[in-house]
């Protein structure tokens, strides 16, 4: 187990280990997405209050949650990079920021589309909406800071410090905007015992939930692999790989 984790820290091993994983993860995620979307949009019964509007939940909730999780991943990787100087952690931190930002943005957009028919407005300065928006700003700040540095190593260290400062701030920001204003419905229990929702509603949500998370990791892994090839372009193993690809083509 530890050996495996340790190996994952090396870009070359990460590349080799993920080669076989990507098609599987992509396939399973897409299948789950298709099943969840068809079931959720076509067959799940309409909500007694929101009618068919609620169906956007199948995309809105997983993308928002995954976007928040992505910031935690970014900050964890940043801390690992600062503490142990693990190259792979920095690569994942770098490539996961734009993906996480895109997920948060998607969560905000689907939320706005859901808000219009349900609350009568696209946007409101509610605690959850506001903290998601601020999380998007934090993502953008980390990306902008990294991009502003010419030196890759200084830029990655600076972005790591900012990501860690941000993650310390996130709970405080959430608490402060909650105190300030709140309108968003509380989280209701999605499924299982004690849930108000019938299984026809929550099972497709689990499908799309896992699909969205799976696709997040597909994007992060694919981008990491590109970044690995770029950073290690002068090493022998990348040259060999390139040679093999060229002879195959």
């Amino acid at each position: 187990m530890w050996q495996w984790l340790y190996k994952l820290g090396s870009p070359r091993h990460f590349y080799e280990m993920t080669t076989g994983l990507v098609p599987w993860l992509t396939g399973v995620s897409l299948l789950l997405l298709a099943a969840g979307v068809v079931w959720g949009l076509g067959f799940a019964p309409p909500d007694y209050q929101m009618g068919d509007n609620f169906r956007i939940i199948y995309i809105h909730v997983p993308t928002s949650m995954c976007g928040m999780g992505a910031y935690v991943l970014l900050a964890t990787m940043a801390a690992m990079h600062m503490i142990w100087n693990i190259k792979m952690a920095d690569i994942v931190a770098k490539v996961s920021a734009p993906v996480g930002a895109a997920y948060i943005a998607l969560g905000l957009i689907t939320g706005a589309l859901w808000g219009k028919p349900t609350w009568g407005t696209y946007w409101t300065w509610d605690a959850r909406l506001t903290s998601s928006l601020i999380l998007l700003f934090l993502f953008l700040g980390v990306m902008a800071l990294r991009a502003a540095y010419d030196s890759e190593s200084a830029g990655s260290k600076a972005a790591s410090v900012l990501a860690i400062v941000g993650v310390v701030n996130v709970p405080i920001i959430y608490f402060s905007v909650q105190w300030w204003n709140t309108l968003h419905q509380g989280t209701s229990k999605l499924g299982g015992a004690g849930s108000a929702n019938p299984p026809e509603i929550w099972i497709p949500a689990f499908f799309t939930g896992f699909a969205v998370i799976g696709l997040f990791f597909v994007a992060v892994i694919l981008r990491s692999r590109n970044e690995i090839l770029y950073r290690e372009r002068r090493t022998q193993w990348v040259q060999d790989l390139l040679q093999k690809e060229l002879t195959h083509a």
Partner: protein, 229 residues
């Protein structure tokens, strides 16, 4: 006098004295943020024809956001000249603990840039028709909030001091992090205007100041080491 002969307190005193002397030798460092604060706030009533009541309700928010911008824009002078002439490197190499020196440095910077904003704020409240009950909470909030903002903004400044053009980037980094202080600072005035008890909000603001004052120097130090090397 050799540096090692100074104790911690002595060297912190020297740092404070040096920072204040530098600030007073170029009065622009003190006056510019203040002028920005007053001029920017007086733009808001000109931006739209608003009744006195409407102005009064947005006064706290306008003053707080402008104070936040003034603190952020004044940050340029915190590390820039020290970075350019190499004294920042000396500070990082000094045998004295960096943590306390950074605290003192930011404190000195706040004394010359943040404190004047607190002092002038009632005048701006007057310009924006802030109801009478709001003046005390506005000043108290700014007194607790602006040093916290200075600490937070100093992190962004330390991260960008090595970059050639850092102004806008600094805003992108610092503004989202300042939101809690802004929310509770402006919220303190609202709480007072609604006749609610202030103790809780004051306590949260004080807690944010303690948190920023103790944790930010760690991040500032790490950031400066990255910027200098």
């Amino acid at each position: 006098m050799s540096r090692s002969a100074l104790g911690l307190a002595g060297s912190l005193g020297t740092t404070l004295q040096r920072e204040l002397q530098l600030a007073f030798s170029s009065p622009g460092r003190i006056v510019n943020p203040l002028m920005f604060f007053v001029i920017a706030v007086s733009m808001f009533p000109l931006g739209g024809r608003m009744s006195a009541e409407v102005l009064g309700t947005i006064a706290a928010g306008v003053i707080w956001v402008t104070a936040l911008l003034a603190v952020m824009l004044s940050m340029e002078s915190l590390f820039r000249s020290d970075f350019d002439d190499g004294s920042l490197e000396q500070l990082l190499l000094s045998p004295q603990p960096l943590y306390f020196h950074l605290q003192v440095k930011v404190l000195a910077h706040w004394l010359v840039t943040g404190l004047p904003l607190v002092v002038i704020s009632p005048l701006l409240g007057l310009l924006l028709h802030l109801p009478e009950a709001g003046y005390g909470p506005l000043m108290l909030g700014l007194l607790l909030g602006t040093p916290a903002l200075s600490m937070i903004a100093a992190i962004g400044t330390a991260l960008t001091v090595g970059l050639a053009r850092s102004g806008l980037l600094l805003a992108v980094l610092v503004l989202p992090l300042s939101i809690p202080v802004l929310v509770f600072g402006a919220g303190l005035v609202d709480t007072a205007l609604n006749g609610l008890p202030l103790t809780g909000v004051v306590a949260v603001l004080a807690a944010l100041l303690v948190l920023a004052g103790t944790l930010a120097p760690l991040a500032i130090g790490a950031a400066l080491r990255i910027s200098v090397h």
